[in-house]
Structure formats: structure tokens, C-alpha cells
């Protein structure tokens, strides 16, 4: 009944979900608006006492109680980690469910529930992002995909998956007929997809990404990765040449290393795959994800690309309109398109 009335209304509705290592983002179309909701996918455990609970409640800090521990969730987890000079815990590592954080699964489910909410009717289609199979790690994404599909089914959705790189193309390359390369520089992984008229030619991921940069810098300078991450997210400027701090200098070095690595892998993957004839025209490359946020990232990428022996003619390299939201937006496009074809 509800489904019928919703389907008959002219305005389309639907949700798309980006399950990232750092953030869970939901995009929801409500009438003439798209509403984005996000929550940092991290937590920090502290001792559960009445005092700490009261203190957190008063400060409006989100927490989840699990046995004797009180887990601070969201952005505050990172703040607490920096306060105690410890690392915040992540339920996801390198883009997939962390094998050492299985106890965090109920918490991820809860975070997911608060971000996406209940479906409007049982069996509502929802596309969620999954990483491409990693080129440089010995694991696949089957377990990860099924666990999240299970969570979403439990909530009443009909979950369908979309590769993160393809979601970026759906979100940003409509003017280019959905032809080009979409790259999502996330925290746990960099996801790449080359698509020709919305059909993926190849899609893959590499496990060097934002977290890898944080860890390498932290190791080199005896800092915690959480602190490096906070500096990277809040004040890193890759164009800065004077008065560069040690952390900024190290971040800049590892950003260069990461970009080289990603471009090399795209070249290698392209050589392995068959080139469609439609790709004779110069293509567009679109960059998205949280790790693209530092000022000067786009110029750095272009420099690395110019230096490389890239096998395709590149017309334009651009940033996604909203780098942190484009995967969720692409997943929403997939949901709405699927609903239309029903």
C-alpha cells in the first residue's frame, strides 16, 4: 500500500550509501532535495563509570555501551584519541571489515542504522558501495559485502552493491556520457574504475591510501597516526613552500609516493585489459574522496600524470563537486535508476 503510493508520486525517492573506512555517508533524495548524512566510522573505548557516562551525555558526545566499556563514537573518537595520545579504533581497515575488530560489528550496525534509518517500505532498493578487488593485498571483498548486505537486509532493505569507482563516475561524469576514470582516494583504499558509457572496463583498488600516509608519517616522526590524520584533515596545504612543518613535509612526500603508486597501477591494469574503441577520444579523470581534500591535491595529481607514460589521451582532470559525498551520490543515482527500470 505504502509502496504503491510512494511509487505513484511524481518525485522520486531513494537512498545510496557509501561505506568507507573513515566515514559512512548516506545520500537520500527527498522531493526536490538531496540530503546527505554522515558519521565517522571510528570509536574510542574508555572505562564505563557513571561519571564518564554523565559527562559524555552532558557534552552531547555519542557513545555506545558494550559490556564494561564505553565507546565514544564519531568525530569525538578522534578527539579523545588525540587527548590520550592513543589510536582511535576503526571497524574497517583497508576498505573492508577489520579482522581484528570483529567485536565492533554490532557498533557498525548501529552507526549504519542511525545514518540511513528505516526503509520507507519493506524491500526498498538501496545501493551501497564496495571496494574493487585489491591488486596489492591478499584478500577479497566477499565477506565484507555479505556482512553489510546482511545488515541492510535486517533493516528491511533490498541491498545491491556498486563499485566505489563506478559510483564516482555515476555521480560526476554525466556530461561525458559516463566515460572516463573515476578515482576515490579514501582512507583505507584508493578505488579506481575506468568506464565506457557507464560500463566498467576495469575496476580495482589499492590498499595504500589516506591511512597508509598517516601511518608512514607517524612512524617516521614518532607521532600517533590519529594526530597526523587530524593535521592532514584540518590544515594540510600541498602548495605551501615556506614555513613547512616536519609533519607537513612528511605528508607531502607520502602524498607524492601515493599518487605515483596509483598512476603506475592504472597504467599496469590498462595494459592488462582490452581497450574499447570508444576510448580513442581524450577521457576525463575525476578525483574524489577524503584524501583529495588538501589544497593543491589536483595540481599534484596532474604533475604526476604528466610525468608518467599514461597510455590514454586525457582531456580533463577535475575534482568531484563534493569529494566527500560523491560515492554516496553515485550510489543514489544507481538506486534511482534501478527504481525507474522496475
Amino acid at each position: 500500500m505504502i509502496k504503491k503510493s510512494l511509487k505513484s508520486s511524481k518525485t522520486q525517492i531513494g537512498r545510496g550509501l557509501d561505506i568507507g573506512t573513515a566515514f559512512i555517508v548516506c545520500a537520500e533524495k527527498k522531493g526536490q532535495e538531496v540530503v546527505f548524512r554522515s558519521q565517522r566510522n571510528a570509536f574510542f573505548d574508555i572505562e564505563h563509570t557513571d561519571f564518564t557516562k554523565q559527562m559524555l551525555t552532558k557534552s552531547k558526545v555519542n557513545y555506545i555501551i558494550q559490556g564494561k566499556t564505553l565507546n565514544v563514537v564519531g568525530d569525538e573518537a578522534l578527539k579523545f584519541a588525540n587527548l590520550f595520545s592513543k589510536e582511535a579504533r576503526r571497524p574497517l581497515n583497508k576498505g573492508v571489515i577489520s579482522p581484528s575488530e570483529k567485536e565492533a560489528l554490532p557498533m557498525v550496525e548501529l552507526i549504519l542504522k542511525t545514518v540511513i534509518g528505516r526503509p520507507r517500505y519493506p524491500g526498498e532498493i538501496l545501493y551501497f558501495s564496495i571496494p574493487g578487488n585489491p591488486l596489492d593485498a591478499d584478500f577479497d571483498t566477499v565477506y565484507h559485502k555479505n556482512i553489510f548486505a546482511g545488515f541492510l537486509k535486517k533493516l528491511g532493505y533490498k541491498p545491491k552493491s556498486i563499485y566505489e569507482g563506478l559510483a564516482v563516475i555515476f555521480s560526476e561524469l554525466a556530461d561525458e556520457n559516463f566515460t572516463g576514470i573515476g578515482i576515490s582516494f579514501g582512507a583505507g583504499m584508493v578505488n579506481v574504475c575506468l568506464a565506457c558509457m557507464s560500463v566498467p572496463v576495469f575496476t580495482f583498488s589499492v590498499t595504500k591510501a589516506g591511512d597508509w600516509i598517516d601511518r608512514q608519517v607517524a612512524k617516521a616522526l614518532a607521532e600517533t597516526a590519529s594526530r597526523v590524520c587530524a593535521i592532514k584533515e584540518n590544515k594540510l596545504d600541498l602548495t605551501k613552500e615556506k614555513e613547512v612543518t616536519k609533519i607537513e613535509q612528511a605528508l607531502s612526500i607520502y602524498y607524492d609516493n601515493l599518487l605515483d603508486y596509483v598512476v603506475e597501477n592504472i597504467i599496469a591494469e590498462f595494459e592488462r585489459s582490452k581497450k574499447p574503441s570508444e576510448l580513442d577520444k581524450p577521457i576525463t579523470i575525476v578525483l574524489s574522496g577524503g584524501s583529495t581534500c588538501p589544497k593543491g591535491f589536483l595540481e599534484r595529481f596532474k604533475q604526476v600524470l604528466r610525468k608518467s607514460d599514461f597510455p590514454l589521451a586525457v582531456g580533463k582532470v577535475k575534482m568531484a563537486a563534493e569529494p566527500l559525498l560523491s560515492v554516496a551520490k553515485g550510489a543514489l543515482v544507481a538506486t534511482l535508476s534501478d527504481e525507474e527500470n522496475k
Binding site: 538531496v34 546527505f36 589510536e87 560489528l105 535486517k154 558509457m197 525507474e340
Partner: protein, 163 residues
């Protein structure tokens, strides 16, 4: 039970000291106390660590082997091996250690063991314990960012045209 990187890092702490408190483990492995406690309990359950009466942790034999990379050796003498072999022979109805020159007589005809059909469960199996209800303060929805849907509608039209 195989050890993860973090678990092995905890084991490595005991290369420097015989015993370690939870605080020291958390400090050296750069973990929160809660997480260090969780991992230590897991390692105790797996037989790698044990809790001392002083409330500290120390390595078990299995933990030391994991640290040094040695496996446990079972040193049995020849007589014990022979006794076990004879007992096995009795139960299986065969002959063990035939005298030189005599061919081993096969007394039991090998038969193909009945194979169990492999059932593949296609439905999703929830790996979590059922009925875990967590108390939380996440009643508020996260902050929202609203944008116009014009861009999405344009994208959908382009996608439809393509199809």
C-alpha cells in the same frame, strides 16, 4: 588459532620482560587499555598468555613457541612408538612391522569411504550473536547537508538516454 599482527606485537613485548601489566602492554603496543585487555583475554583463551596472581600477564609455553617460532617436539622412545603401532594394528586388523622378506599381507580390503554430500547454504548467515542489544546515545540523527536535486535529475536523464 593464528595470531594477527597486533596480537603478535603483544607477544613480542614479552621478549623484553617476563611479566607485563595491562598498562605496560597498552603503552608498548600503542593501544587503549580496553582494547589491550580484550586482546590479552583472547590470547589467554588461545593458550598464549596466562594471568598471574599479581594480575599481570606472562607467556605460556605456547606463547614462547610463538615468540621464538619453534614448534613443540614430542619426544617418544622407540618402545612407546612400537606399542602404539601394535595397538593400532590390533584395532585395524592389519600387520605392522612385518619381518624382513615377508610381503605385507593386506587383510582389510580398502573400500571407498562414503562421501557426505556437501550442502552449500546460499542464504546469508549472520555472523553475530543473536540478540546483542547495545545501549547507546545515538538517538539524534547525524548532521544533515541539503543540496538541490537538479544535478541528480540531469544525471538520471543522461543515464536513461544512454540505456
Amino acid at each position: 588459532m593464528s595470531l594477527s599482527g597486533t596480537e603478535f606485537n603483544i607477544i613480542k613485548i614479552f621478549a623484553e620482560s617476563k611479566e607485563a601489566s595491562l598498562g605496560l602492554i597498552a603503552d608498548k603496543a600503542i593501544l587503549t587499555i580496553g582494547y589491550a585487555e580484550y586482546l590479552c583475554k583472547y590470547l589467554v583463551k588461545g593458550g598464549y598468555l596466562e594471568l598471574t596472581p599479581r594480575g599481570t600477564y606472562c607467556l605460556t609455553l605456547q606463547g614462547r613457541e610463538a615468540l621464538t617460532g619453534k614448534t613443540r617436539q614430542i619426544l617418544w622412545d622407540q618402545r612407546t612408538i612400537q606399542a602404539i603401532a601394535q595397538e593400532l594394528a590390533k584395532q585395524l586388523g592389519g600387520t605392522v612391522f612385518p619381518r624382513a622378506g615377508r610381503k605385507l599381507k593386506r587383510e582389510v580390503e580398502p573400500s571407498a569411504p562414503a562421501r557426505k554430500a556437501i550442502m552449500i547454504k546460499e542464504s546469508f548467515v549472520d555472523p553475530m550473536e543473536p540478540g546483542i542489544i547495545l545501549k547507546h546515545s545515538l538517538s539524534r540523527k547525524p548532521k544533515e547537508l541539503r543540496t538541490s536535486s537538479v544535478g541528480i535529475e540531469k544525471t538520471l536523464k543522461a543515464l536513461k538516454k544512454l540505456k
